[in-house]
Symmetry: C3
Subunit: 206 residues, 3 copies
Amino acid sequence: MRIRLTPRETSFYDLFASSASNLVTGSKLLLELLGADVAARAEIADRMRAAEHAGDEFTHAIFHQLNSSFITPFDREDIYALASSLDDIMDFMEEAVDLTVLYEVESLPKGVEQQIEVLARAAELTAAAMPNLRTMDNLTEYWIEVNRLENQADQIHRKLLARLFSGEYEAIEVLKLKQIVDVLEEAADAFEHVANTVETIAVKES
Amino acid sequence: MRIRLTPRETSFYDLFASSASNLVTGSKLLLELLGADVAARAEIADRMRAAEHAGDEFTHAIFHQLNSSFITPFDREDIYALASSLDDIMDFMEEAVDLTVLYEVESLPKGVEQQIEVLARAAELTAAAMPNLRTMDNLTEYWIEVNRLENQADQIHRKLLARLFSGEYEAIEVLKLKQIVDVLEEAADAFEHVANTVETIAVKES
Amino acid sequence: MRIRLTPRETSFYDLFASSASNLVTGSKLLLELLGADVAARAEIADRMRAAEHAGDEFTHAIFHQLNSSFITPFDREDIYALASSLDDIMDFMEEAVDLTVLYEVESLPKGVEQQIEVLARAAELTAAAMPNLRTMDNLTEYWIEVNRLENQADQIHRKLLARLFSGEYEAIEVLKLKQIVDVLEEAADAFEHVANTVETIAVKES
């Protein structure tokens, strides 16, 4: 145990808000991907990569702040978990776009647009909730709604897999598409991790 | 750090015991699944979903207790890890049943019954061990045996994959069945996580 | 909270060094695997299994030391994370060899040798870095380089998947090979986890 200075510990809130806002950017790029032709996809992938790099900067700033602060607004493990899960979401979003380009996917299967709409809604809710960590107001509705969205995403994902396995697609195409829909499902799971961490923080404060 | 009241911290033991007993219920449903026709499978899936919801209640009660208690019988991170791993096991069991129904699997490959028997044995051992957390008696045998079972599950799983890839099955069927045997393997891994956490707790107490 | 004796807490350094050196052994066995015929592969698998058992011993010794020490050279969670990630790497390496034998893979696809070269380089860097945990010297270059290697591994992995999905391979063969290249990618990720934990430790010390 050693003494840590706390020059700017309040900026945790700002960093979490920036990290979550960046996910709204990411989910909008996923929505763009749905209707994009091959040329447009490459350009979307570039912008997604830039967004992911921006996310890395926020995550790194949070970790640096965490490691150099003696007093933190919440338990250290909760700050770590929150930053990591926010970072994971962006990584999964970026991977979905990159794989779509890399595998030269003809068209994403019906149901992916539902997955992405759920992610976009979860991103908006998460970005709106982060500033409320200061006051702990209105967080209950946020985490109930994100948990509901994750259950919905899970149902959409399982139906998508059933469709992929229905015989409509060639085996190799199934493998490509499965990896993309799986990574989008991982993004939905990671939104729930964020919400569960926020719940943990809120219960400790109450 | 803030003061937390501890109205009922001893009930951690009861909650862990209930959560583990619920896994015995889950593993019995998996055993029923083996011989079930399509109609029976749907009904088993309903009961599995109910068991999983019951498990969620125990997990949530443990987290709530953890977050609202100032003094806990073990280190907080160990309680969290134990509750999470118990919850994971039920989720994996439920997913295995749900995917079998959803993918309209004709018949599960030979070897799955061995996977499920190992899970059933691990569930019984885990349910028997939880009450012993109070006294720390007889835990060594439990975790040695669960680690042995996990190694056995790992061997069964790898042989199952080799069978799936042997050319006996169509590629799409391989994909469906692989996902089911993989999720059963994840359940076996999660039993080992539970045992490792119990070992950690016991060593700290010794 | 209870008092723990610390008869030999300094040996954490030796145990981490031994665990990391063992990964160099593992990565050399992976390099041998590349050019091996079927008979040689079985023998390599035996030696890899022995290396994995040796790794388990180091991991277990670290956990035992951690649970029985009152004072530790770094935060307990960092020691736990470091030992676990080192152990994970060996497990992934062993799995890659075992699956190659079990699936009777004709030949590993072009690009796997690049994956393994990255792992071998990461293992050397990790083994060289562990003794520096005593003095915290020269760790910055280590983790920057391992992060760079992980990005490189990620690119190699994605290109390998694109090759597997290009139509050159039968679907079942794709499934086998994908599992092997995925587990090698997991090993690369785990090297990054080790480096990130070392970074966390170093920042706290600075």
